[in-house]
């Protein structure tokens, strides 16, 4: 969760609540059409934009994403009621999981180095002498940057004793570790889905909340409303996201219409044990390190941008993979919904035939709010299979490495190193490991988590990383240890 984008995130959640309420109402289409007017009624003070009409236009676009459609494809003349109808008729979901609301995109100033009015035109001119590219000259007693020569190295920014030179950033471009989101020829952000690894950083980084996940909530509600059996599979990180414990949460999810709930931590136990076995095999072979493979964002990074690390990546499947396999074996007729902290898992779910839909924590929260379900008032319902403490800690940084370690009889065999957050820098580091065939400091197990703090830092989480970790630790303190492998 990004606190800076607080109001924008809240707006998205409120829209989700209203979409769900509309679905549950007598007239889904009309209630959906009214969302922008209900949220910005006639005469209301305009909170963010230039006028109430733009506020409503932007809420309309956000609603389109909430209904599961790409805002880029909207022709502006289609009514929300028509989108609601199309959502009801839709039978397939798309694999392009993020959509940019260009009307909300500010079209931020281009990424560049800029000399502000604070420039004193000093005699020393450290900016000029610090620039290795000859991009700075002094014109009329003021420092001026030639953008065609500037490499954005920021030497001048650091050199100026008046802090007069600044780096202007485009937050989404800055946040994206793989250069997949950029201002296009119109000056507004757009996503290159070929490059995008669905890490969700842009959604959290944009201060205007212009990047949206395309929700599958209507598709899920449709399945619940039909006679089919719908089963929720909750990611381990969820234990830090809602009030109460995961047993009360199970009851709450079932009250919301699901027929059963499985802990994905159950699959995490299998992942950890399998990775531990694989680790021993690989280390007995000629490899010097292995990386984990449970993070969907990391897996897409490998696929799209970092194939050279593939030989070092564990072949073990993700906790979701094993859990979904078990659920489909036990209930072949069921529709499965993975409850996820992030957008990356939407892509994994799309590629896995055992996962029918993905719903993020914000959407589950919105469903509880819309249905007025008080988790704290719910009784506890047990799970058929209880997961281990280590598996339940999978969702925070260090948790996966710890669970692999705890699976071994000789825990000292593992020297973990942790990548908490895929950034341009940490990707460089991984590339280095792949090229060298080994990592720094004799470490032999690299845990890679796409989000800072691990899954509890996912783009669709509703708690802060710190309080979420504390909540999970309190809960797992009494869980059983993971079984050791032979």
């Amino acid at each position: 969760m990004n606190n800076n984008a607080g109001q924008a995130i809240r707006l998205k959640k409120e829209i989700l609540v209203r979409i769900i309420k509309a679905f549950l109402s007598e007239d889904f289409k009309e209630q959906t059409r009214l969302i922008p007017y209900d949220m910005r009624p006639k005469g209301m003070e305009v909170p963010y934009r230039c006028c109430i009409y733009k506020e409503r236009a932007i809420i309309k676009d956000r609603t389109i994403a909430g209904l599961g459609f790409a805002i880029e494809e909207d022709n502006e003349t289609t009514l929300l009621s028509t989108y609601a109808q199309k959502a009801l008729e839709r039978t397939e979901i798309s694999n392009k999981n993020l959509t940019v609301l260009q009307a909300a995109c500010k079209g931020c100033n281009t990424n560049r180095i800029y000399v502000t009015d604070l420039c004193q035109g000093c005699v020393a001119r450290p900016c000029e002498s610090s620039c290795k590219f000859g991009a700075i000259s002094i014109v009329n007693g003021r420092s001026v940057i030639d953008d065609s020569k500037c490499k954005k190295c920021q030497m001048c920014v650091n050199a100026c004793p008046y802090n007069a030179i600044v780096k202007i950033t485009v937050p989404c471009e800055e946040a994206c570790p793989v250069g997949a989101i950029k201002k296009d020829e119109t000056g507004f952000a757009s996503i290159d889905h070929e490059k995008c690894i669905n890490c969700g950083r842009c959604t959290a980084a944009c201060p205007f909340g212009a990047v949206h996940e395309k929700s599958q909530i209507i598709d899920i509600l449709k399945e619940i409303k039909s006679d089919k059996k719908v089963i929720a599979m909750i990611a381990p990180s969820i234990a830090g996201q809602f009030p109460g414990n995961i047993y009360q949460l199970k009851t709450a999810i079932m009250k919301a219409g699901f027929d059963d709930v499985y802990e994905v931590a159950q699959g995490a136990d299998i992942t950890a044990n399998n990775e531990a076995k694989e680790f021993i095999e690989r280390m007995e072979g000629d490899q010097k390190f292995m990386t984990t493979s449970c993070c969907a964002g990391y897996n897409q990074l490998i696929e799209k941008h970092l194939p050279q690390i593939k030989p070092f990546v564990s072949d073990t499947k993700t906790p979701l993979f094993y859990t979904a396999e078990i659920v489909k074996q036990e209930h072949p007729d069921a529709v499965t919904v993975f409850v996820s902290p992030c957008v990356a898992k939407r892509a994994e779910g799309f590629d896995n035939p055992n996962v029918d839909y993905v719903m993020n924590y914000e959407e589950l929260g919105a469903l509880f709010v819309a249905k007025k379900i008080q988790i704290m008032d719910c009784e506890e319902t047990k799970y058929t299979k209880e997961a281990s403490k280590q598996a339940r800690n999978f969702g925070y940084t260090g948790g996966v490495a710890e669970s692999v370690k705890a699976s071994l009889k000789d825990e000292d065999k593992i020297k973990p190193c942790i990548i908490s957050g895929l950034t341009k820098e940490s990707i460089k580091q991984l590339k280095q490991y792949a090229t060298n065939g080994e990592c720094a400091n004799g470490c032999n197990l690299v845990e890679v988590m796409c989000c800072e703090g691990g899954c509890i830092g996912g783009n669709a989480t509703i708690n802060s990383v710190r309080t979420a970790k504390k909540q999970i630790d309190n809960f797992t303190a009494n869980s059983e240890n993971i079984p050791k492998i032979e």
């Binding site: 009030p243 709450a252 988790i375 509703i462 710190r466 979420a468």
Partner: protein, 85 residues
């Protein structure tokens, strides 16, 4: 002077709409105020249903004073105000 009572709403709406991270008050308040202030989680205070729906959640009550759109900073500010510091 009576203890100041802080009630953090952990109803679903408050928690989902931003109240989750208010749990950090459980650590901050005893450290900062010792036994002058008492903090407890509270089941739904019922405030989300009377005021413009969810748009002002999360709520925290500091004695009888309601802090809407509550953040850690706003709650601490209200406690300071009531303590006269």
């Amino acid at each position: 002077m009576d203890k100041i009572s802080v009630k953090v709403c952990v109803g679903t709406t408050c928690f989902v709409m931003g109240g989750a991270s208010l749990q950090e008050l459980n650590d901050i308040i005893p450290k900062k105020y010792g036994d002058k202030v008492e903090i407890a989680a509270s089941n739904c205070l019922g405030l989300c249903s009377i005021n413009w729906e969810y748009s002002k959640a999360p709520y925290v009550k500091v004695n009888e004073e309601v802090v809407a759109n509550a953040t850690t900073e706003k709650v601490l500010e209200e406690i300071d105000r009531q303590l006269g510091i």
